[in-house]
């Protein structure tokens, strides 16, 4: 079955420190992977995606993600965290079958950046 796992419910980081939010996936075929961020009382906003090509993908707000095929991981990273990065982060994998095209989401990781 196609799935996405985010093993950490919450990640705490001090402002200015690097951050990593973990994601692993299980798909058949080539994975199409996404990261979304959700701020309070808002919908999900797209951060970045991996389709093919370079394993390091750069996205919005200084975030990047590293695709690792051997470890089936797609961890989200940022070199220097900001308090304003505090939010809920979702990893997702795209599933395309016949006439369907949908995303399977992980359970989310709450990032808390402390001043």
């Amino acid at each position: 079955a196609q799935s996405v796992a985010q093993p950490e419910d919450q990640v705490n980081v001090a402002e200015g420190n690097p951050l990593t939010v973990k994601c692993t996936y299980s798909v058949s075929g080539n994975p199409y992977l996404f990261w979304y961020v959700q701020y309070p009382n808002r919908g999900l906003q797209f951060l970045l995606k991996y389709i093919t090509g370079d394993n390091l993908v750069k996205g919005s707000y200084g975030f990047e993600a590293e695709f690792n095929k051997s470890q089936t991981s797609f961890h989200l990273k940022k070199p220097s965290a900001l308090v304003s990065d505090s939010a809920l982060y979702f990893c997702a994998v795209r599933v395309s079958l016949y006439n369907t095209d949908k995303l399977i989401f992980g359970t989310g990781t709450r990032l808390q950046v402390f001043p």
Binding site: D9, Y32, F34, Y36, N41, R42, G43, L44, Q45, F46, K49, I51, F90, R94, N99, T100, D101, K102, L103, F105, G106, T107, G108
Partner: protein, 113 residues
């Protein structure tokens, strides 16, 4: 462009009542989706549509119905509200084409009492 618009933002229902959650997008996207978000559970797909007149069930369709008479609108109907349907509901859309990110509405927070 307004993107994906959901109404209402908040609603309280009594058990057994019915209501329709509205979703409209002005981006001419073919694919539209309804999710529910429960704490610690991520997003679960309720129904989706790949175009006007075509809908299909997602992971958790029981207790819901949808229709897609136009490209723009994708309403979600609760016929007999139950406490288990208390959740935050999100509508999303993407254009036809490879690997485009989904655009999300701001959600409808629904409580069934």
């Amino acid at each position: 462009n307004a993107g994906v618009t959901q109404t209402p933002k908040f609603r309280i229902l009594k058990i057994g009542q019915s209501m329709t959650l509205q979703c409209t997008q002005d981006m001419n996207h073919n694919y539209m989706y309804w999710y529910r978000q429960d704490p610690g559970m991520g997003l679960k797909l309720i129904y989706y549509s790949v175009g006007a007149g075509i809908t299909d069930k997602g992971e958790v369709p029981n207790g819901y119905n949808v229709s897609r008479s136009t490209t723009e609108d994708f309403p979600l109907r609760l016929e007999l509200a139950a406490p288990s349907q208390t959740s935050v509901y999100f509508c999303a859309s993407i254009p036809r084409g490879d690997n485009q990110p989904q655009h999300f509405g701001d959600g409808t927070r629904l409580s069934i009492l």
